[in-house]
């Protein structure tokens, strides 16, 4: 009986009959239709990860070409124009199209599994944010491939980005593409927030969620409020370029620094948004290999949030050289120094976890633990730039380039690769090869440090960033050559990872449901998990439901095998925000073309704007609006309205 408005969920255990019932409800159709319509968070998550890794490879190749140009003084492999588009596209790719989406991918895949739920809060929105991410990546790369890539660095300062100095379509592609990407990020952020607050398994109160949830939740809460700043900045730039407005034009009362404020109000929290979830991966993964719970769960969770709150107040440290008054400088300098403290909490928690545990050395462990050191290196170089007088010397030299790469590769890529080794068995049912894994890790680690550790010195010797070439006699030749060699070693390391993935997909050692003997709920289901994730909804009593009773503690135990069946429809449980008491049965939407259509409509709007084809933009806008109204049309099967009368 599906008509009831209230129900008492049946309690039971898993059975073959129950499984087939759930399977019918949750399984995505095979073939193209299923591919285009699926709203399964696991499929969407993997798409995010695969797309992001492809873009990582592309951005990496761009970097290698640049490193060839910089291998020695006065080389002319690239013209300045080519170099400028390459370094800008490299930054755009790594920061916007790889670093954040790859984390969204892991979180998308893992969240419902970690939370003991059957899908994200808004599965169709989830599909929509992936499609729009894909569309914006295609849009931005369409510009690059037609010779209109961004050419003003990833932070794209005006007036150089404005029409007077930059008349090509380069910056229009970049501006519109970034606004489009912003839609994807915002939709994803809303989804993550509601998922974390409302769909946790019963009993999983907010102080029992894995740290990855804290990291991604914090990142996305920030995204929700800071992404509009950058979308607005890019939109105003596009208006200035194409419609003669004067937001950034000092000749008509505009403010070039408005761009920098809007960009960095977004940009600094964004840097935390692309590392906090990765730090969460380490906080959850490292303890598994140390055979004990994470040291200081509560302080680590709190420090995650504290980092972001402080992170809102440090954007001006990117603008120390813009001639701001001294008082403002002191405030932002102080805040930037203080923000070291919450980061230090995580470092000491991880170190203590290693020391007070019994580490088992695996490739994943190597990635997670080496990340601690890289995090510290990236952290202390950041701490140096927080001191205003020092920053006036350091900023815009290769020291800062080294810093940002320690942050992004050290705190994003290393945890992600560790996470890949850790969760690959869950996603595919097979281990990544450990032997190849060691080769992969050590090549990556050595290559990375060879490339970027000497780069600090290159910066201290005064090499400015974003130069397409440099003269000899500046003292930078040897260091640059070392960096170039290192970058190729790093690239080989990444290549070994890809080889490992392809090999292991076919011939990896089969992994069971919980190959690492890990504590959290994603390891309670088979590898790979069934479309419905959990046959019965678990009830959670602690932070490590699968380790209960083995840590010498007494008390209540989670119920993983027995719980609500919820097989009368495509259903999962909704719980209260803090205590996770069950308070409603959620009716989940089935697979649908609507997200894809809406994404196509929205993307065509941006194509129309780029081409200044108002007809195309108007028609696409109408299509998107109609798709949206139909999407939101209240449906009885989702219990959004009363049964039709008559």
């Amino acid at each position: 009986m599906r008509a009831a408005d209230y129900r008492t969920p049946l309690i039971g255990v898993d059975s073959v009959e129950h499984q087939s019932k759930l399977m019918r409800l949750w399984e995505t159709e095979p073939g193209l239709k299923g591919f285009l319509t699926t709203v399964d968070h696991k499929q969407i998550g993997i798409r995010y990860i695969v797309t992001a890794f492809i873009l990582l490879a592309v951005g990496g190749i761009e970097a290698l070409v640049m490193r060839l140009q910089l291998a020695g003084p006065n080389l002319s492999l690239l013209t300045p124009e080519q170099y400028d588009e390459l370094f800008s596209t490299h930054g755009m790719t790594m920061i916007f199209l790889y670093a954040s989406p790859v984390l969204s991918g892991f979180s998308n895949y893992l969240w419902p599994l970690l939370l003991g739920s059957r899908d994200m809060a808004f599965p169709r929105v989830n599909a929509l944010s992936y499609w729009i991410y894909l569309a914006s990546a295609i849009f931005l790369y369409a510009g690059f491939l037609t010779g209109h890539g961004p050419n003003d660095g990833w932070f794209n300062y005006v007036p150089y980005a404005n029409h007077d100095y930059n008349p090509g379509l380069n910056e229009d592609f970049y501006s519109l593409g970034m606004v489009l990407l912003g839609i994807s990020v915002t939709a994803g952020a809303a989804n993550f927030i509601v998922t974390a607050m409302r769909t946790r398994a019963p009993g999983m109160s907010i102080n029992k969620v894995p740290i990855l949830i804290w990291g991604t939740l914090t990142a996305n809460a920030a995204n929700l409020v800071v992404v509009p700043a950058v979308s607005l900045a890019f939109f105003l730039l596009w208006m200035d370029r194409q419609f003669g407005t004067h937001f950034y034009d000092s000749h008509a009362g505009g403010q070039p620094l408005l761009w920098q404020h809007l960009f960095w109000i977004f940009g600094h929290p964004w840097v935390y948004a692309i590392v906090l979830p990765a730090m969460g991966m380490v906080s959850d993964g490292l303890p598994v290999f140390c055979r004990r719970p994470l040291v200081g769960y509560s302080v680590v969770a709190l420090s995650t949030v504290a980092t972001m709150i402080l992170g809102f107040g440090v954007w001006v440290h990117h603008m120390f050289a813009t001639g701001l008054p001294g008082l403002g400088l002191s405030f932002f300098s102080g805040a930037s120094i203080v923000i070291v403290i919450p980061s230090a909490v995580a470092v000491f928690a991880w170190l203590a976890t290693i020391w007070l545990g019994r580490p088992v050395i695996t490739t994943a462990f190597l990635y997670f633990s080496s990340m601690i050191l890289l995090f510290v290196i990236g952290g202390v170089s950041g701490f140096m730039t927080a001191s205003v007088p020092v920053d006036w010397q350091l900023t815009d030299t290769y020291f800062v380039v080294a810093h940002i790469h320690y942050v992004l590769i050290g705190i994003n890529l290393f945890p992600v690769l560790g996470g890949a080794y850790f969760w690959f068995p869950k996603m595919t049912g097979r281990f990544l090869d450990e032997r190849l894994g060691r080769w992969n890790f050590w090549t990556t680690f050595i290559g990375f440090n060879l490339a970027f550790l000497p780069m600090h010195l290159t910066g201290l010797l005064g090499m400015p960033r974003r130069v397409y070439t440099y003269a000899d006699g500046m003292g930078w030749d040897t260091l640059n050559l070392i960096t170039t060699v290192g970058s190729f070693v790093l690239a080989i390391g990444i290549l070994l990872f890809f080889i490992n993935v392809f090999r292991s997909l076919r011939s990896g050692v089969p992994a069971g449901a919980n190959p690492w003997d890990a504590p959290t709920l994603e390891w309670a289901v088979s590898s790979p998990p069934p479309p419905y994730n959990f046959a019965v909804i678990p009830t959670v009593a602690s932070r490590h439901p699968l380790w209960e009773g083995r840590l010498g503690e007494d008390g209540i135990v989670s119920s993983v095998d027995r719980g609500m069946l919820l097989d009368e429809g495509k259903e999962t449980i909704g719980t209260t925000a803090l205590d996770a008491d069950p308070d409603m049965i959620l009716e989940m939407p089935e697979d649908s073309f609507a997200p894809l259509l809406l994404a196509i409509g929205a993307s065509l709007v941006f194509v129309g704007l780029l081409l200044k084809s108002w007809t195309l933009a108007g028609v696409a806008c109408a299509i998107a609006l109609i798709a949206l109204v139909l999407w939101l049309w209240p449906r009885r099967d989702l219990r959004e309205r009363e049964p039709a009368h008559g």
């Binding site: 019963p202 208006m239 505009g254």
Partner: protein
């Protein structure tokens, strides 16, 4: 022996009840991000104005003749939307239709008056940073008004189709929340562009 905890809720709602459902949280998130967008727009206004040379305002005393009544009209439409929601809550369909219909009409009237206001301005969008900010900020708001009008129209149609009851009405509460947001944001835009010059900002 440890005790196994098992959640066995009894008689819980299936799907959203009242405003209690994920969709309402979703619209809440949407409102948060849109509110941020307007905060940045207004920041841009105040930042640019504060750093610009004297005489930045093209209209030192913005004409309130249309803008003030229009603001009141928009606030009244919020009241009408609330009235409509109340109609759904109390199972009075006529009241609901009246409320949503009136809100729709007032919202549309606001948009028309605002369009006229744009044409009546003595400057165009490209005149200066001030005019650019004015037109783009009010333009962003106008886009939200248009979306809000479509939402109100949808609520009207859905109410006419008798979709809602006090229990199943998440779309109503979410849509009306959005419309309230559009109206409240206008108060900030109005205070910034029409009132703050009288307090001396930007002259």
């Amino acid at each position: 022996m440890a005790e196994v905890v098992l959640s066995q809720p009894a008689d819980i709602p299936v799907g959203p009840v009242g405003r209690h459902g994920l969709g309402y949280w979703g619209v809440g998130a949407l409102v948060a991000t849109e509110a941020s967008l307007f905060a940045y727009l207004l920041f841009s206004y105040f930042y640019t104005g504060a750093t610009a040379p004297a005489g930045w305002l093209l209209e030192p005393h913005p004409v309130l003749k249309l803008a003030l009544p229009n603001t009141i009209l928009l606030l009244l439409s919020s009241g009408a939307a609330w009235f409509g929601e109340n109609g759904v809550l109390t199972r009075r369909r006529a009241r609901a239709l009246l409320g949503f219909g009136a809100a729709f009409v007032m919202g549309t009237a606001f948009a028309i008056v605002q369009t006229y206001e744009w044409h009546a301005k003595p400057f165009q969008i490209g005149a200066s940073s001030y005019s650019s900010l004015y037109f783009v900020t009010t333009g962003f708001h106008m886009a939200h008004v248009v979306v809000g009008i479509i939402v109100l129209a949808a609520l009207f149609v859905w109410t006419a189709l008798d979709y809602f009851s006090p229990r199943r009405r998440l779309s109503v509460s979410a849509g009306v929340l959005y419309w309230h947001f559009v109206d409240v944001v206008w108060l900030f835009v109005f205070a910034t562009y029409y009132i703050s010059p009288y307090l001396g900002f930007g002259r």
